[in-house]
Symmetry: C2
Subunit: 233 residues, 2 copies
């Protein structure tokens, strides 16, 4: 992690711990430079990162302000941290239904940019929030990148393992959202009725070098799931 | 618009017009500096903006690459440009059902940060895509910011009017997403059945100074709407 990322993390933690609200003013640039003992450009980069993440907004000639929404219980659609971390305030558990090495489907091969004869890890699991089903998740991992997986890793945090264990740099994600009706199989897994609404999200996770390594298809229980997105215009 | 924003726009247009694909390499920093006749820091800011917007990704020591998803017909959930612009490749029309000045609901007052006795513009409309209903949209505009609206403005682009006509600077948006079942009234407007799935999105648009000016509640026709989100991790 680079110095400006550490400073961004420290500022975000400060805002959370002190429960600062939207519109609360942060110290001026000079004070932040003194406090962290770094250059103006480092503080500026940290602030730009926090702005992109929706944590602060800057008003030219006026200052740096906290940006927080007022609603509780929403899951960030764009968080970098994986479910385990996002939902640490919630009680999240999961049940692995399938875990094996197989050949990809045509769809998975296309999205992972691998051949049909290459190996992928396939993971199918259900996530629960406060004991209620949150989503059904099917993931395909490019095995030449994610070289090893087991049940314990999956039950902990795959993203933590990928970044810390395998030392990979996760870069960006393309997400595709649809709303549709549950199939009978999906309804059974989620404890809902066939034909009930679902949010269906396909995500393609890439390394910083642009290589896709995870293609995931997630079907959410509409009763449990509410999301927020913070966009900078 | 600042210089780096112009350069970012020009690069984005270049990528679109030349139909560059994900992974295609862009000219190196020095070439971009020469081409636009600007400093390194200006090009760097332009590239950072494009990275945040999901248009490019940068690989240290390797170059600048185009980031584009392969799927057609998806609407960007985070676009800055308003529907009219996002959907210029689609055939979008809209029908205004209601337009008046009124007192806000408690919910709208809370989200717009105005008093219950202050005036808001209320707009209710249906959007159509290729002649099919896309969404039902109810918007509340803080009248002390959006001082005037009429049918013609609404049928053109409200966002164009706000930025160009009123000269306001739009800063950031908080969006809240739910999936649920259509009420009878919503189903009637969208030409669907009561109980069909819906994507329901509440958005709060803020000026760059943090003031909320538009609280919108949008109910999407699940058959017509598919969205994409490009996230930087």
């Amino acid at each position: 992690m680079l110095k400006y990322q550490h400073i961004a993390d420290a500022l975000e933690k400060y805002i959370e711990e002190h429960e600062l609200q939207q519109g609360d003013k942060l110290p001026v640039l000079q004070d932040l430079m003194n406090q962290f003992g770094v250059s103006k450009s480092t503080v500026t980069k940290a602030l730009e990162l926090l702005e992109t993440k929706g944590v602060i907004f800057q008003v030219r000639g006026s200052g740096i302000f906290v940006r927080r929404h007022k609603r509780k219980g929403y899951i960030s659609l764009l968080s970098t941290k994986g479910f385990k971390k996002i939902l640490e305030d919630f009680q999240i558990t999961s049940k692995v239904i399938e875990l094996d090495i197989r050949k990809p489907t045509t769809e998975a091969a296309l999205n992972l940019n691998v051949g049909l004869d290459e190996d992928v890890y396939y993971v199918k699991r259900i996530r629960y929030i406060h004991g209620q089903s949150l989503c059904l998740e099917e993931s395909y991992f490019n095995k030449s990148v994610i070289t090893y997986l087991n049940n314990e890793i999956i039950n902990e945090s795959i993203f933590h393992y990928i970044t810390e264990g395998l030392g990979l740099n996760v870069g960006f994600t393309d997400m595709f959202l649809h709303v549709d009706k549950l199939t009978e199989e999906e309804a059974d897994y989620l404890g809902l009725e066939k034909g009930d609404p679902k949010l269906y999200v396909e995500s393609i996770f890439h390394l910083t070098n642009g290589q896709p390594f995870d293609f995931s298809k997630v079907t959410y229980n509409y009763v449990q799931s509410q999301f927020f997105v913070q966009a900078v215009l």
